[in-house]
Amino acid sequence: MLPVLDLSGMVLRLGGREVLAGASFTVEAGEIVVVIGPNGAGKTLLLELVVGARPLQGGQVRGRGVTLAGLAARAGLLAWVADEARPTAEMRVAQILDEAARIGGAAAELRERIVAGLALGPHLRARAGVLSRGERHRVAIAEALLLRRPLTVLDEPLAAFDPLQRTAACDLLRELARAGHALLMTVHEMHTAERIADRIVLLHEGRVLAVGTLAELRAAVGRETGDLEDIFVALLSKGRDAA
């Protein structure tokens, strides 16, 4: 089966500096792929290239085997939540979610599940503008998920959650993935990435250092145990040594 998303040789230069240098990996249906990397690694820029928020300077973005050349092609495949996205402040949360559910043809059960998973129930009647930063970001995530696109791309979606909410949100995202939904996201916290990711992409200075499951990444650094943070440090050291 063709991957939902296939990135090959993604290149981006900004101000004469190469900020992405040939990033390549795939996202399969029903898979959660998490991009991690130090600050300035190019995680957000990579996602922006995927969703078409920036022009691609090199490489290719394919969705289910077809090159995603235009907006319509991308729109048929993916939904996008930018970091710190703030949904329409003047609208009530329920209105925002209803509109997304209507566009995506989402059933009432899915809407309820997403509302519960993202702890939005108490805020449905509130205007989005009066919510806290974290609450607004959760509304933006719910809106994207209700569009029911095969792939949802999220930039730092879990940063604004408290620990309990994060657990519920991770459960929801896993449940959606089990139902065949693919997710590509950046995550800053290693333990969250470890918990939610099917596969992890380690990005450093615009280059993909490694892609794989946690077990595969451990194997890549020759370890049988150790958390993602240890593997991350080891891979970075290995990358520097190789350079």
């Binding site: 928020a53 691609l56 907006l71 729109a75 703030r86 329409t88 209105q95 930063r133």
Partner: protein, 435 residues
Amino acid sequence: MRRELVLVFGARVTWAVAALVAAVVGHSFVLAVDLYGQASASVAAGSLAAREFEPLLAVLRPTVGGWSFCVTLIGPVLAARVLAAEKDRRTFHARLLALGSARRLMVRKLLAAWLGLLLLAAPIVLCALVWAATGGHLDVVESLVVLLGVVLHAGWIAAVSTAAAAWSGSTPQATALALLLCVSPWILDAAGEFAALAWLAPVQRLSISPHLAGFERAVLQPGAVLWLVVAVLGALALACIGARDDWTRRRRGGSAALVGAVSLAALLVGDRWRGGWDLSEARHSSLPLAIADAVAELPAPLVLDIGLDRDDARRAQLEQDVVLRLELVRPDLVVRFPFDAAAADAGSRGDAYGRILVQVGDRAVETWSTSRRELITLLFEAAQRPMPAWEYPPYAGHPRVLGGGARSAIAVVVYLLVPLLLGAMALSRPGERAR
């Protein structure tokens, strides 16, 4: 579309701006009514001068002028915000992907911005109703033509502001660019009034003002409507291109240049399409009917060589009083200004300054008068044809002196009630939490 409408009408800033514009429009209306009343008092005895009292030009036009000035300066803030707010909130690209079409999103943004600006125009209608309610005369058809001009003007500002927002990264950038674009016609307009700016003349017709002038006199000109529609569609197309963040700069620039060139060509076609229908009461903006019919039959070419430069007030009067009326019946009228070609200063004008050469077919006569009747008479003289009787259809005029009570009522409505109502609407809208 619901989201766009909520973005406009659910925002505090929209109603706050509407309250401000209502106060300015109301003030324009009160000043116009006061002046009209003072002038009317002098013809209360029913003299012939009463026929010159047209509420269209003396009351409605200044009220619209107040709106026009205000909406040019504040309208872009509202109109650009409809799109730019989503860029600030980092949801713009998500919305593009959700709808799957830049065109659909831009059309929604444009329509919402347009409706927002029409909210700002509501005080004009209210002032007209107040005027009618206090016994003032208002012709429905000519008032509707004036309002059509307002609607199209609002559409132009909405479209230009939407395009500016699409090409900008944030609300401050979008607002600054939209303001610059909306105010730029004032610079072009100045070219028509100052000899020092005569070098701007080739682009003067790219200003929106000449195309709105007919509406203000209740003259419906298809060319002006076409010009405004093309300007709106061109700006919409530019907005669609500006929204495509996935395109390279070269592709966006090339597409924008192409759209600009096509729009420019279409604007020129609209500009060349002269003529129209005078829908003012008693056809006040036209020549007398019999004269108009006879002028339409005069042989071509019909040429006016006007030896006046841009600094001369007689020239503006001639353009508005004679040229506009002649163009209604003779769209092929050629008007030339010999003093525009040479950078003539007052000392080098010579004896030819002030001379107007009236040419019909191969015959020409000259005059130094700028009187409408004199020039029309010369047209027939040059054509060696008899001139029909100069008779306008009966128009009594509508002088109106407002009593103290009516005047106070108007002041309360336009200075207090309407701005306060709109201000209350602004306060009832929820604010946005910063973090």
